[in-house]
Amino acid sequence: MVSTELGYDQLLSIAFSVPMPYEWSVGVYGSLFFHEIMNHNRFLGVRCPDCNKVYMPPRRLCGPCFKELDELVVLPNEGTIEAFSIVNYPFVDPNTGEQRPIPYTYGYIRIDGADTIFSHIINETDTRLIQVGMKVKAVFREKELMQGNVQDIKHFEIVNP
């Protein structure tokens, strides 16, 4: 008879660390949004004709109204901090397989004229210098380096009052 007893340090596990590639469609409205950044350094939103809400980034569907949207609106590259957190723990970014640099500030920004919040990075990690309600402005990548993704916005910076 073989015993079923086994020490904790003798328990085995199998590791898996192979990258699995995917390719995600950005869609018409998302592609237009990134082209607008590349060409004009400004944002696009879309208005729902039923509830009048302006979504930024633009999307094809209003969920609550269950309605297709097509009224694109140009929005400025400025907004207000609605909420934020300063991320201070190390973790591996599943998009890159690398540790994301910390600390960094995860910001929820309401772009002027939009009714939804846009999540991005704010380049201020000192809790004494950042507050809900502060005005921020987008800082874009140099045009020749733009790739048509959300990192064409480098970060948002606090606008001095």
């Binding site: 300063i86 991320v87 201070n88 970014d93 599943p94 991005h120 993704n149």
Partner: protein, 385 residues
């Protein structure tokens, strides 16, 4: 009209940070076996099974198929229900639907997770939109931290106010032999713990646990024969709202919980929840939720959560004891977490909660939280509806 349905059996593992001694299906078996023992049924009595966990957490998909040895589902109807953090409550509600429909008499609900088998933060990041949100998103902690930052700004709440919620839940866990973290902590220890994502510190947030829960639902007429004091489902309500993080309006409170609880209270005939409920097992994944979300549940007015907790109203001997089990801050096997809230609420109604029993519970509340600020609510009672 739906038939009346009651919970007759509850089982759970002893939750730990790492269970290298079992694989997923073996861990599921432990909880199922304990639930069957609790109500003296055998797996042959079970007509159907609902199972759920977090998609892709263990990178073994189709848990409904690969777990059958442990779930007991061989040659039975089984389906998987997965709704993110609310999974455990959704599994319970789906089991309720099965029995209430009249098609099944005894249904087993299972929730489980082996958080130790993946990088939880990496896995949660993959639930965010890959085009828009994933670049800046960093898992569950900062999306809760942003909520906290807005709430603190709105009502002048402090980190110390939030710490009292951790102190309460971790203190209660001492009475729960199944909890993962059973060491009480002080306000000072919470405030001095490392800052993970402002304003959330290590002791403000739930742990990552390995564990499983199993709850057995039975129909009217059969439930009473299985156990003398079943926990009847008086109401359940689901509000799954947004999918874009940016659609949440923080100033409105947790709208999904406001709506779900309002509907459940209406169905259960509850007008003043803090007075009429005898205990609440709330899915509070971080301390600040224990202030803000009890306002959304109507335990107190908006902006008064911190005072309500500080005054002791949510303590074991308070007006509405919250989380006698120690809650999510003391054990968090995610797919099981909301089912544990339902199971613990049922144990309270059945009078079987052992050292964590609140005396004479007639009506208990359980909640689930997850997705993108989604909420599930169940109300259990000792009287057949």
């Amino acid at each position: 009209m739906p038939g009346s349905v009651a919970i007759v059996g509850v089982g759970q593992t002893d939750h730990r940070s790492h269970r290298p001694d079992v694989n997923g299906r073996e861990m599921i078996y432990e909880a199922v076996q304990r639930a069957l023992l609790d109500c003296e049924l055998s797996i042959n009595h079970i007509d159907a099974i609902i199972i759920g966990n977090m998609d892709h957490f263990e990178s073994i998909n189709y848990v409904d198929t690969w777990s059958v040895e442990g779930s007991g589902a061989i040659m039975k109807p089984i389906m998987k229900v997965s709704t993110g953090g609310t999974t455990g409550a959704s599994v319970a509600i789906a089991a309720y639907y099965h029995v209430a429909s009249g098609l099944f008499d005894r249904v087993l609900a299972i929730g489980w997770e082996k958080n130790s088998e993946s990088d939880t933060t990496g896995a949660i990041i993959t639930c965010s939109d890959p085009v828009w949100d994933r670049f800046s998103y960093s898992g569950a902690i900062p999306s809760l931290a942003t909520e906290a930052s807005a709430y603190m700004n709105q009502y002048g709440v402090t980190q110390e106010d939030a710490a009292r919620v951790t102190v309460r839940d971790r203190g209660n866990a001492v009475n729960n032999p199944h909890a993962h973290l059973r060491k009480p902590v002080s306000i000072h220890e919470v405030l001095a713990s490392p800052m993970l994502a402002y304003p959330i510190k290590l002791l403000d947030i739930c742990p990552r646990s390995d564990g499983a829960a199993a709850v057995i639902f039975a129909s009217d007429g059969i439930a009473q024969r299985i156990t003398p004091r079943p926990a009847w489902i008086k109401a359940c309500s689901v509000r799954h709202t947004y999918t874009w993080f940016g659609d949440v309006d923080y100033k409105q409170g947790l709208v999904s919980l406001q709506r779900a609880s309002a509907e459940a209270y209406l169905r259960a005939g509850i007008k003043s929840p803090a007075d009429e409920l005898d205990v609440a097992e709330l899915y509070l994944p971080y301390s600040y939720a224990g202030l803000k979300w009890i306002e959304d549940l109507g335990f107190c007015a908006r902006g008064e959560g911190a005072g309500f907790v500080e005054d002791g109203h949510t303590d074991i001997a308070g007006k509405i004891p919250v989380n006698p089990s120690g809650g999510v801050l003391s054990a968090n096997c995610i797919g099981a977490t909301a089912l544990l809230r339902v199971g613990e609420a049922a144990l309270q109604v059945m009078g079987k909660a052992g050292p964590r029993q609140i005396p004479d519970v007639k009506q208990a509340l359980a909640t689930g939280f997850g997705g993108c600020f989604w909420s599930d609510v169940l109300i259990l009672g000792s009287g057949r509806p």
